[in-house]
Subunit: 308 residues, 2 copies
């Protein structure tokens, strides 16, 4: 089992959907990634920053999942990053109502010494320069560096993004972002171009349509489970990333075959995340439930064709 460094936001979210709303609840990319990865009982640290308003009970929750929180800087006289969003009726597109960077604005991640030799690094969605600075602290090149990003950085920090992705093994983005980054409509051609930018593996997340994994000429298509109800999609993408990274840290096998499994695990865990507000579902998820859902995923796409 490899050590896992997770970098990203730990935050307050306030969420509104057609079905209900929340006040400030626990959120943030690193939170979702961490809770998801914790299902694999790996030795993971969260590198982040919060303010003095961040409740101890949330840190205790993360610690109770065996996540190391020594890398979460607490800025006592500062406020925690706060995001508020409202989802449309399709439960997919959303408006951002509030973004208060607060302590995130000056975030300088410090990887705890014990984890600077970690084999797996999961760089949650942040400014590419911040993501780079984490890689600079690793004592050796990690076996696997996974990076998540979004179109916002393509718009306002493209050069920095292109710089950091030269140093990574796996990028996770959605289909629109893959098209924006490469100027290509075909995801096959987009993935090929992204390979040339650095990452040997490209995961293109397609929301309700599943995810594609590209590695040279190999392609794998992981389904998304058609759901009766999406209660709150917040954190689904990060939960995917956490499952993906956690599984790979656990199994230490970065072959294409095993990457497929990692994508399936990521999708499986993400399908739980959307069932309740915020992190609620991910806080109380049993191994038995995960295995049952995995079987559902297998039944969803497996077939035995008879050649006629």
């Amino acid at each position: 089992m490899s050590k896992l460094v997770i970098v990203g936001t730990v935050a307050f979210d306030a969420i509104e959907t057609p079905f209900g709303k929340t006040d400030k609840i626990l959120g943030g990319a690193a939170t979702f990634i961490g809770l998801s990865a914790s299902h694999f009982n790996v030795d993971a640290t969260l590198v982040s920053v919060v303010g003095g308003d961040f409740p101890q009970k949330y840190l205790d929750l993360l610690a109770s999942k065996n996540l190391d929180t020594s890398g979460i800087e607490i800025v006592k006289d500062g406020k925690t990053f706060f995001w508020s969003g409202r989802y449309h009726n399709d439960m997919n597109s959303r408006d951002t109502l509030i973004t208060e960077l607060n302590t995130l604005a000056d975030f300088n991640p410090v990887v705890p010494k014990d984890y600077t030799d970690a084999d797996v690094v999961m760089l949650g969605n942040l400014h590419p320069l911040v993501q780079s600075s984490v890689l600079d602290q690793m004592t050796e090149t990690p076996k696997l560096v996974i990076l998540d990003t979004m179109n916002f950085w393509m718009d306002c920090a493209l050069e920095d993004l292109l710089s950091v992705i030269k140093r990574i093994d796996v990028i996770t983005i959605n289909d629109e972002e893959a098209r924006q980054l490469t100027g290509e409509y075909s995801l096959v051609v987009a993935a090929r171009k992204i390979h040339e930018m650095g990452p040997k593996y490209v995961v293109i997340k397609k929301g309700e349509h599943g995810a594609l994994l590209f590695h040279d000429d190999n392609v794998f298509y992981a389904p998304a489970l058609p759901l009766e109800e999406v209660f709150d999609p917040t954190g689904a993408g990060d939960t995917f990333a956490g499952g993906f990274a956690g599984y790979l840290a656990k199994t230490e096998d970065v072959s294409f075959e095993n990457m497929k499994n990692a994508v399936i695990y990521g999708s499986t865990l993400a399908s739980f995340c959307v069932e309740k507000f915020g992190t609620e579902r991910m806080q109380n998820l049993s191994r038995a439930e995960v295995e049952k859902r995995l079987l559902q995923f297998k039944q969803l796409t497996q077939f035995e064709i008879e050649l006629t």
Copy 2:
């Protein structure tokens, strides 16, 4: 092997894409369905109508694929249905430039006597009353009735559509249409509502995102092959339907397990259709090519998960 009745348009298409354009070429739902189904060497008839301007060479082409054309009425002093469309850069959305119904306006399908006892009927996209009239001519209730439709009929002939779908086993529509027909966003809930309207099986086509097959509480997700290049998407949906129907007519097994295979075959054949203009690719497609593509589909989604 069951006899197969295919009803739909046989037409002229004129197609424009960002890559090129055609004059009037062979098209029409029944044409694409038939060419696709012909890969299974089933005994299929095309029930349609053309004008005096329809070239004999096109009828000869269909006959050369062992498709019975005795049910294609030739209205000597009439003109063949003509559709012209232009695809946008995404090669998915399109504008209809011309629709000349011509002989289609008075189409009264007559099923050839030899086929009125066919076990499988594929009702291509037409006015629901026209589709109904075909079912009225069958001497016994067919084992399997598959119906394709579109949002146009939901807008202007909804009662007729609801009437005919009471009589069918499988409906094929896209995700937007499933949502419009049922007023539900979740495709799981939409499929359940559509079951109550008649069809035991619901195929929801999602274009580049694949297809979902619903049957009671069972779901199957067939991928779409991520393509380097979509040259002309015209007829892809009908090619899917033809592969689906042809495979089921050949194997005579309408279990859910076999329906999955039918969906895979449909997707496989549709992936060829888009490689060239119109029917060109489907006219010259070998068994070896189809089998190779089937293997690609299998590799695309199959995985062996190890429970950790």
